[in-house]
Amino acid sequence: MSLDNYLVLAAILFSIGAATVLLRRNAIIVFMGVELMLNATNLLLVTFSRLHGQLDGQVLAFFVMVVAAAEVVVGLAIIVSIYRTRRSASVDDVNLLKS
């Protein structure tokens, strides 16, 4: 089986994630989109690692997972905090920069 399919799948997953981030309003869903993009990247890293027969990509994938785990903690904390002050999880309500 060609490794190209993995690359195409990663691209599709990344696109879905990006579309989720750009189009959805709910912060939790947006967050899920971010995770999806991270995982698409991980898949890409692993695929290239296999393609070149090197372990660097796999090692980097682990780093991404660790950072993603930490990021989830911080991100969820921010979302919860925003929800507590604004009674809303919509990202459009967080537009203090404009007004």
């Binding site: 990006a18 981030v21 750009l22 189009l23 947006v30 990202v91 459009d92 967080v94 537009n95 203090l96 920069l97 404009k98 007004s99």
Partner: protein, 662 residues
């Protein structure tokens, strides 16, 4: 220091030139600065203390002026002790400007000319101060009035005592300011405030002349003090430059002395209280132009063209003022027109050169007495007639105000030039001098002599008209607003005594100073002693002709205004009368020639400023704001739009890299 200055030998009629100045500092001369200091200090005190000095402020003003007169008299007596050739003195007060190569010290030039002015200003000034105490009795702002009067006296003394044109300019501006403040003293009435502004603006035009003259003098002689400028060797200077300086000085004199073509302000200046008209607009300030010309004699002597212009201006103004004076019904405006005409005589005499300088100043002094006296008389009449100024509403006042009648009558005889009263000694001399050919031009002698002679006749007519309409004939008094009759009454003693003293001066001063050429000899250290040609008519014939004209003028006025009935409503009159009533259309001419083009110019400048200049600056701002508005639309505040921008940027970046690499 008795050497003759070099210009004297080059002047055509000069036998003995003016003496050079001698520096003095000791004795009475050390207190000479008090002449200026006393009234100036009093003015400052009265203005700074404000209402706290309301109760005694007017007496302080009188005291300051009287003290200045005493100092002036002491200086005068000290000067009389000196030889005639040693009477030009310089009192150094201090350094004024010390800038590199340019040094100018502030000092006082004490000589017969400036002492004459000091005595005239302080003596007449003190009398008018005393008069004002009673005249302004009911005015809330009497203290402020006296502060301004003192300021005027101080500025006038700076003007005549200065030893340089620059210091004189300070006094020149000072009297202009005082005149402005006093014309507009009742500035709660808009026409009065406008009159003050008009006087100020007309004076400013003259001041430009003085400033340009100062610049020319500095460029030509390298200094502006009298010693440098007037003592310079005029033969080494081009005549064109001297003519330029002379004409600029004449412009300054025209502004200050209300001479043609800057004469329009003097009539309106009568808006000020009557003592102001007497002091500033009759006796002293308006004669500053004559002083300027006489003081600058060496310049004018070396510039015959400028002298001719001076004579022409004087001749035009003396006829102009006389014609206007014949038609005015406002007693003060008639007197103002007369002042203009009489100063025309003085300017004419000053323009005649060495032969006329002394007579110009002589007429100035006698005029200062009789005209101030008549203005005070007019003030007394107004005081008794509920501030009425329309002569058609007077008549028959001789019985009710005897002192005013007699004092005014003496002034009237003096201005007519009836011997032996003052005017005869000074005005006839000017007429005689006008008939003396200058540089051999007989036509000039005939022309200007005839103008001066004719002026004397018209003067007799309009002054007699004024006198008869006011004091003779039948009563034409208006009833008061409440329907009661007017009760003319004599003014209080504080007002009558100054009038009496001035009337004595009007009657006798000419005789005292004119007999044996005393006044001319007294001024000789400044004007030089000169021999002159003979007039084209014998002096005796001239005196007789003048007297005939005066009598004719007076009799005509007697027939029209004393015997026959004077209509209360002014008749339509001839075209000349109608023109003279509106000052020969001078305001219309000024408006058409200067004011309206000026307004159009400013309006178009304002338009250019608003469209072009403001358009450019405001346009830059508006463009920036517009661009900002456009860019602002991209800042939505939505995270997703920022994220989309980032993604788009990334895609573009990657695509670019790929395209470049492939």
């Amino acid at each position: 220091m008795n050497t003759l200055t070099s210009w004297a030998t080059s002047a055509p009629f000069a036998d003995i030139g003016p003496a050079a100045a001698e520096p003095v500092s000791a004795g009475i001369y050390a207190v000479a600065p008090l002449l200026v200091g006393l009234p100036l200090g009093s003015a400052a005190l009265l203005l700074l203390l404000g209402r706290r000095s309301d109760r005694w402020g007017h007496w302080l003003g009188v005291l300051a002026s009287a003290a200045a007169f005493v100092v002036g008299l002491l200086t005068f007596l000290a000067m009389l002790d000196r030889d005639a050739s040693n009477r030009v003195l310089d009192v150094r007060v201090g350094d004024w400007i010390d800038a590199g190569a340019f040094h100018l010290s502030a000092g006082m030039r004490l000589d017969p000319l400036s002492m004459t002015f000091v005595l005239l200003v302080t003596f007449v000034g003190t009398l008018i101060h005393v008069y004002s105490v009673a005249y302004m009795d009911h005015d809330r702002d009497r203290r402020r009035f006296f502060a301004y009067l003192n300021l005027f006296v101080a500025a006038m003394l700076v003007l005549v005592l200065a030893d340089s044109y620059l210091l004189m300019f300070v006094g020149w501006e000072g009297v202009g300011l005082a005149s402005y403040l006093l014309i507009g003293f009742w500035n709660h009435r808009t026409p009065y405030a406008v009159a003050a502004k008009k006087a100020f603006v007309a004076n400013r035009i003259g001041d430009i002349g003085l400033i340009v003259a100062l610049g020319l003098m500095f460029a030509t002689f390298g200094g502006v003090d009298f010693t440098t400028v007037l003592g310079a060797n005029m033969s080494g200077v081009s005549e064109a430059t001297l003519t330029g300086i002379g004409l600029m000085l004449l412009l300054a004199a025209c502004g200050k002395s209300a001479q043609f073509p800057l004469q329009s302000w003097l009539g309106d200046a009568m808006a000020g209280p009557t003592p102001v008209s007497a002091l500033i607009h009759a006796a002293t300030m308006v004669t500053a132009g004559v002083y300027l010309i006489v003081r600058s004699a060496p310049v004018f002597d070396a510039a015959p063209t400028a002298q001719l212009v001076v004579v022409v201006v004087g001749a035009i103004t003396l006829l102009f003022g006389a014609i206007v004076g014949c038609a005015k019904d406002d007693i003060k405006k008639a007197l103002a027109a007369s002042t203009m005409s009489q100063i025309g005589y003085m300017v004419l005499a000053a323009g005649l050169g060495p032969v006329g300088y002394a007579f110009a100043i002589f007429h100035l002094v006698t005029h200062g007495f009789f005209k101030a006296g008549m203005f005070l008389g007019a003030g007394s009449v107004m005081h008794g007639m509920d501030d009425q100024v329309d002569m058609r509403r007077f008549g028959g006042l001789a019985r009710y105000m005897k002192i005013t009648y007699v004092t005014f009558g003496l002034g009237w005889l003096a201005i007519l030039g009836v011997p032996p009263f003052s005017g005869f000694w000074s005005k006839d001399k000017i007429i005689e001098a006008a008939f003396i050919p200058t540089d051999g031009h007989t036509w000039r002698a005939w022309l200007f002599g005839s103008v001066a002679l004719l002026g004397a006749g018209i003067t007799a007519f309009y002054m007699s008209r004024l006198f008869f309409m006011t004091f003779e004939g039948e009563r034409r008094w208006s009833t008061r607003t409440d329907g009661s009759q007017q009760h003319p009454h004599e003014a209080p003693a504080l007002m009558t005594w100054p009038m009496i003293i001035l009337a004595i001066g009007s009657a006798g001063l000419g005789l005292v100073l004119g007999l044996g050429n005393r006044f001319v000899d007294w001024l000789a250290p400044v004007t030089g002693e000169h021999e002159h040609g003979e007039p084209v008519l014998a002096p005796g014939v001239l005196v007789a002709l003048t007297l005939v004209l005066v009598v004719v003028g007076a009799v005509l006025a007697w027939r029209r205004y004393a015997i026959s009935t004077v209509p209360v409503i002014p008749p339509v009159g001839t075209a000349l009368t109608r023109a003279a009533r509106v000052d020969l259309y001078q305001d219309a001419v000024n408006d058409a020639l200067l004011v309206e083009p000026g307004q159009h110019l400013t309006r178009s400048l304002v338009y250019v400023d608003k469209t072009v200049v403001d358009g450019a600056t405001v346009g830059v701002g508006q463009t920036t704001v517009g661009l900002g508005q456009l860019l602002r639309k991209t800042q939505t505040g939505y995270v997703r739009s920022y994220a989309a921008t980032m993604l788009l940027g990334l895609v573009v970046l990657v695509a670019t890299v790929l395209v470049i690499q492939s």
